[in-house]
């Protein structure tokens, strides 16, 4: 009896908050996404009325070229940026873990440092580094590089995201490398494995869980891309109000006041995140030895 009361007491704060700020908003989002606002009276001045609209908002969202283009854009972004960043993080973690590395503490701290800088501030900072007339990179090369143009700005954003999170992912991978039993290395060395073979055949398979974890979080993060394009929008004409799905939902809600459509877009985005992250987990789960 006492046991049951204690459990309820420990769980209650989290469950109440989780319901209020996770479950209720998700439910409300689904409800609003199925609601249309109908104007009544002559010229729509008679007042607004909420009516059930079924999947109408979803159909509109899926027919909206800007939203679809944004979705396609971040899928392309993720397909390139996530593998590049995870690969870079893995290489850095393996290099720091190898016997040849020096000043390990310094390097590890340096790579991790940008994680403490919020995405908005990282974007403001990189925004200056991209800005024509200020950019030190253009100055160094002696030619004006167009970082913010139609074809380049997506990859300039990818660079900001990689800069921010590569070190963090490296640290997660390093944590798993440190957890490996050193006796495994001994037996591999006795079999005559060199450092390269040790990394490829022994370490890489063992850090799989860390790679899966970081990839899933990176996929979810990519789909939510918002702060970086929102900040760079001030500097680049190539970024419009629907550049990413989150920007679309934000614009529908706060510029066009169409909450139903915005809610439908948010739900679609969450579904995409679920499908992609579970799909990825299934894919790697099936291939597991």
């Amino acid at each position: 009896m006492r046991n049951r009361l204690a459990v309820a007491g420990f769980l209650a704060p989290f469950l109440v908050l989780f319901s209020a700020f996770f479950l209720v908003p998700i439910g409300y989002s689904i409800y609003r996404s199925m609601t249309l606002v109908e104007r009544t009276g002559p010229l729509g001045f008679g007042g607004a009325e909420q009516v059930f609209g079924g999947l109408t908002n979803y159909l509109w969202a899926l027919q909206e070229p800007g939203f679809l283009a944004g979705l396609g854009r971040i899928l392309l972004f993720g397909a390139v940026q996530v593998p590049v960043m995870i690969a870079a993080a893995t290489v850095l973690a393996l290099l720091l873990d190898s016997a040849s590395a020096r000043w390990k503490g310094f390097f590890r701290a340096t790579y991790f440092l940008p994680y403490g800088i919020p995405g908005v501030l990282a974007s403001i900072l990189w925004g200056f580094l991209y800005m024509p007339g200020v950019s030190p990179f253009s100055e160094l090369l002696g030619v004006e590089i167009d970082f913010l143009g139609q074809d380049t700005v997506l990859w300039s954003i990818a660079n900001i995201v990689t800069w921010s999170f590569a070190g963090y992912n490296m640290l997660v991978i390093t944590a798993q490398l440190n957890a490996i039993d050193p006796s495994l290395y001994e037996s591999a060395r006795m079999d005559g494995a060199n450092a390269w073979q040790l990394a490829w055949h022994v370490k890489l398979p063992l850090i799989r869980p860390a790679l899966v974890l970081t990839t899933v979080f990176s996929i979810i993060g990519t789909l939510q891309l918002f702060a970086e394009p929102m900040v760079l929008k001030e500097l680049s004409t190539a970024i419009d109000a629907r550049y990413t799905p989150n920007l679309s939902a934000y614009s529908e809600a706060f510029v066009n006041n169409d909450y139903g459509l915005a809610a439908a877009q948010a739900v679609l985005l969450a579904l995409t995140a679920f499908v992609l992250s579970f799909g990825f987990l299934k894919l790697v789960g099936r291939r597991a030895p």
Binding site: F22, L113, V267
Partner: protein, 278 residues
């Protein structure tokens, strides 16, 4: 070990370090210049350094609004992370150390929560909070941040491994209440996981841009991230704001970067627990 390998490895590590450090170096240099020097002088070198003047302007502009933003950020991230760590610790402990019906259901719910994109919640939260008249208040930013599914996940795994059942039984035999056992014995044993959860939440809240952007219209409630992006976006009308944005970014970024470096080991310890089992 061959010397050439050693040199190659160190060279690659150095190039990577340059990539991560150059933006920070530029920020430090740029924050010492006046507005004209920012555009006319080389971005790589000092030019008429006047850091103190610049920082003084950051802190005094608009009746010291910057200091308010600093205070707000500390309030949201500090209070939010402290409370959410306590909430996550209690829940994670219960999931790890008690047998009850629905335990797995609760844990799966938590795992599902880890995967929900937070920005998908911000919009409905805004609509709900504005119906309650709570949008554009401190609570609108603070309350949703108290839920940390990832924190519960970390705390459960850690409590499972680090809190021995015998100790809990001993406490019960001594007649201590469950709440007392949790607050005096369990929390202390879970300290490393609590630090990790706290840091994770702190950075998460400090990083969060979408929620305060959606919720707040009163600039005096803004956290630093929102305030500085406001300065940046209005700088074409008021050119002095460009320099203030740079100075403000320096002031906000440097303390946290230093903290990151010193608190690195907590990230390592905590996330191993998560990733080994995940």
């Amino acid at each position: 070990m061959k010397t050439t390998t050693k040199i190659t490895v160190t060279a690659v590590l150095c190039v990577a370090a340059l990539y991560f450090l150059i933006p920070v170096y530029w920020l430090v240099i740029a924050s010492t210049k006046d507005t004209g020097g920012l555009y006319s002088s080389s971005g790589w070198w000092l030019f008429n350094p006047q850091l103190i003047d610049n920082l003084a302007r950051v802190f005094t502009y608009n009746d010291g609004i910057f200091l308010r933003w600093v205070g707000n950020t500390l309030l949201y991230a500090g209070v939010g992370a402290t409370l959410s760590t306590w909430v996550a610790a209690a829940c994670g402990y219960a999931l790890a150390k008690f047998r009850f019906r629905g335990r797995e259901t609760v844990f799966n719910l938590v795992l599902g929560g880890v995967l929900v994109p937070f920005t998908a919640l911000a919009l409905p939260l805004y609509l709900l909070f504005s119906q309650l008249g709570l949008a554009n208040t401190v609570f609108a930013v603070l309350l949703p941040c108290l839920v940390s599914p990832f924190g519960v996940y970390l705390c459960r795994i850690y409590a499972d491994a680090a809190v021995p059942d015998e100790l809990l039984e001993a406490g019960r035999l001594d007649g201590a209440s469950e709440a007392r056992i949790f607050h005096t014995v369990v929390l202390r044993m879970m300290a490393p996981a609590l630090v990790t959860t706290f840091l994770f939440e702190f950075v998460g809240i400090w990083n969060n841009y979408f929620l305060p952007l959606v919720m707040l219209s009163d600039t005096s409630l803004y956290p630093l991230t929102l305030g500085l992006s406001l300065w940046q976006s209005t700088s074409d009308r008021e050119p002095v704001l460009t320099q203030l944005t740079i100075g403000g970014a320096l002031v906000s970024v440097v303390p946290l970067m230093i903290a990151m470096v010193f608190l690195q080991r907590f990230w390592r310890g905590g996330l191993t627990e998560g990733s080994v089992k995940g």
